[in-house]
Symmetry: C2
Subunit: 130 residues, 2 copies
């Protein structure tokens, strides 16, 4: 059994940040769960375009307010506590945080922790990132 406290991971190399977001990696590929699990904080006023070509991701809103636009269809959905989106088609999307968003995210295949967002908004596939 693995037990981890998010509050103890902040400030370690399991908390990855750029100017507009922080992601605390609670589970990564080497935990051998078959998925990874992250708590991600998106700064109020920020906007993010991602395209996980090599991963499925689900994102559940724990707190905050924003929206997501599916860039294939142009549809926009409200993000608020209790709303989840799942990128089952590797959907390219833009996420906007009107207020700080706190999101619980699962990735399959699991993120290794070594990925960076590439220019096209994707993460490398696990074999490229290893």
């Amino acid at each position: 059994m693995i037990v981890r406290d998010e509050n103890q991971l902040k400030g370690t190399d399991r908390a990855v940040s750029d100017a507009d977001w922080t992601s605390v990696r609670m589970l990564l590929a080497d935990d051998n769960m078959g998925f990874s699990f992250h708590i991600t904080y998106l700064k109020a006023g920020s906007e993010h375009t991602f395209h996980y070509k090599n991963h499925f991701e689900s994102v559940y809103c724990m707190s905050g307010k924003g929206s997501i636009t599916d860039l294939a269809t142009g549809e926009t959905h409200e993000i608020k506590p209790g709303v989840m989106y799942a990128l089952d088609q590797h959907d390219k999307h833009t996420l906007r945080a009107e207020e700080e968003l706190v999101m619980a995210c699962c990735f399959n295949p699991p993120v290794t922790g070594k990925e960076v967002h590439r220019e096209d908004g994707s993460y490398a596939a696990p074999d490229e990132a290893a």
Copy 2:
């Protein structure tokens, strides 16, 4: 892209309950994400012994207070917001809710939605439950 609002799933067949818990199935096997994702509410004062012999599960505490005991080692860990446990060894465990616990849970393989907890605390494997 799948978008679901937990508040709209309550009261539907995606919200499964017994006397002491309710689990809202945000993603199930037929969503083809390779994992399932559930928001689970455990009643204050309740105690649960589970043994997912056929699944890996991670559980992140969003609110509430309680504890988990690893029945193989006897170790007990505090559960509070920000704490996650991951049953990477299919660990048999007892979970206690001192206050109502609200937990974000991921299962691999994904739960089909047809499983029931069996006498031994497990869920059937996907091929048995299908």
